[in-house]
Amino acid sequence: MLILTRRVIFWSLIVLFVIHSFLVFTIGTEEDKGETLLTKDALNGKLVYQKYNCTACHQLYGLGGYMGPDLTNVMSKQGIGELYVRAFLQNGTQRMPNFHLSEEEIIFLVAYLKYVDKTGISPVKKFEINLNGTVTQK
């Protein structure tokens, strides 16, 4: 392969990368169905979630460690609600450490999880598989 050809392919890919990144950062991720719940508390809650490294054991949209359950929709799961979540956060379990969270931190986390819940669904349990291997959520 000529050195010139290599360079042309390389730089074309770079240009495409820049355009693609820009689109992903903007119109590709514009919609946020949870926007109305994006309060100050919820934003703080995200930082609390990071501070205690909840992601080591929990997933949001299936991303994170696997020891504990996916928390995306924990707030709207049947039989579960704010009180139930609070109980976990206050006491921990045999596997989940008790982080001795302050009342404020718990309020933040609950607000954050409420926001997360509204953004979408995970894990996806109702879907249809199309012939080309893609999936349509129901």
Binding site: V24, D32, Q50, Y115
Partner: protein
């Protein structure tokens, strides 16, 4: 004490590997036996494990590149001083990260779980590495072989994607979960692609040396494969976020891109017979043995990666141990095998001496032990993942019930981890001994 900076990095990497795997084994036992070692919780063990093994990959790859540029590529190293500075920053930052984990101070982002401030020395050290690499590489007369292109790409794109992974510090990215997750995994996908460029480049370099044939590293096929890999690094990352509600074109594009890897898969299948013949000839050469193992693992993990890139499969496998099979399968089976090959090559090249017959036996035993246990380990993760995926979609059992179902497979997985650790220890200890003797002499 002599200080060949390449070997310093490799030795540090080997130590990180063994310690990282020990934490991995502890974590696996905590997973299945909650009463196992409760003084240091899984919340600390997981990042200790992941960061140490990632440090192994970087350290050994970087060490190899410094050494090969300095001694083998006809470029020389632009500045030994800068390289040593890089090493010092690497060690100090690494220690600070470990201390933070033990103290429970987290940044809490997947994979880079240390406080964000510690990314600054990493950025800085990477700039030093980049300057040194390019200043050296531009000394090369004639076109670069493909592995130098790959190293260059890996270095530049690590920098770009590591920066991208920190875009969350800006509210524009942080304040929308969909945007945050999408950008985070766009960055991580390409970041792993970048370190793979460093590692695969190393594999090609070592192979050209063993075979004494530079031409393949300039061939058209080599460059086509490189560009295919590069395009996948840039655009093929979305299988991590298929279920995140971002725009659907992001998924479609990535799905299409991933499927181009079928070409590599097909190439491997078509060439398997001649590859096997080739492999038999030189299997006694230690670095070559590891390269052959990595080829087998490339085949298996590419198959798995292709499968989970199909959205219809991904919807079951995502968020389960299939993903862990994908990530550990590639980082252990492919990256670690290649980097061990490189470590063996580099250490024999520096010390100009061979291992004793007893050591060779030990390495061979370790090699087979490792691969045997790792095969079972990998299969267990896939089985556990498939079980969990199906049970989750069926939606009849609670999370705890599902976990109880997969407990037996994960228990086998944890015990296999001990076998993997034992095999690796047998392989790595002669390397560490040689390095120790070299530094002492």
């Amino acid at each position: 004490m002599k200080k060949e900076v390449g070997l310093l990095f490799v030795t540090l990497g080997l130590v990180a590997l063994l310690s990282g795997v020990i934490f991995g084994v502890i974590g696996a036992f905590q997973f299945v036996f909650p009463e196992f070692i409760t003084t240091v919780s899984f919340v600390k063990i997981r990042p200790l494990h992941v960061s140490l093994v990632v440090a192994w990959i970087f350290s050994c790859a970087i060490g190899g590149i410094y050494y090969y540029m300095n001694n083998c590529c006809g470029t020389g190293l632009w500045s030994g001083k800068l390289a040593k500075m890089h090493f010092r920053i690497f060690v100090i930052t690494g220690l600070l990260i470990l201390i933070c984990y033990f103290m429970g101070k987290f940044g809490g982002r997947e994979y880079w779980e240390f406080p964000a401030i510690l990314s600054i020395p990493i950025f800085f050290s990477w700039i030093l590495f980049g300057i040194n690499y390019f200043k050296s590489a531009f000394n090369k007369i004639g076109g670069w072989p493909v592995h130098m292109w790959m190293w260059a790409t890996g270095i530049v794109f690590f920098f770009i994607t590591f920066s991208e992974a920190y875009l969350w510090v800006f509210p524009y990215f942080r304040n929308s979960l969909v945007r945050d997750l999408t950008v985070q995994w766009k960055a991580y996908g390409a970041l792993t692609g970048s370190w793979n460029m460093l590692v695969y480049g190393t594999a090609i370099f070592v192979m050209t040396r063993i075979k004494g044939d530079e031409k393949t590293a300039h061939s058209k096929t080599a460059f086509l494969m490189y560009f295919l890999g590069f395009a996948n690094l840039l655009f093929g990352w979305a299988h991590h976020i298929y279920i995140v509600p971002a725009a659907s074109w992001i998924r479609t594009l990535s799905y299409g891109m991933s499927m181009t890897e079928l070409l590599i898969f097909a190439k491997m299948i078509i060439e398997w017979r001649s590859s096997l013949e080739e492999a038999k000839k030189d299997f006694h050469i230690i670095p070559y043995k590891f390269i052959v193992a990595s080829d087998v693992w490339i085949f298996l993990n590419l198959g798995l990666a292709l499968a989970i890139s199909v959205p219809a499969v991904n919807i079951y496998s995502h968020g389960t141990h299939v993903t862990v099979a994908h990530s550990m399968g590639s980082t252990i089976g492919i990256n670690t095998m290649i980097l061990l090959a490189s470590a063996f090559f580099l250490i024999s090249d520096i010390t100009k001496s061979d291992f004793s017959a007893a050591q060779k036996k030990q390495i061979s035993l370790g090699f087979w032990l490792f691969n045997l246990f790792f095969t079972v380990f990998w299969c267990c993760l896939i089985i556990a993942g498939i079980q969990k995926g199906i049970l989750t979609v069926e939606d009849k059992l609670s999370f705890q019930e599902v976990m109880t179902k997969i407990q037996p497979v994960l228990t086998i997985f944890a015990f296999c981890g001990i076998g993997v650790l034992a095999g690796l220890t047998l392989v790595v200890s002669p390397l560490l001994l040689s390095a120790y003797r070299y530094f002492k002499s």
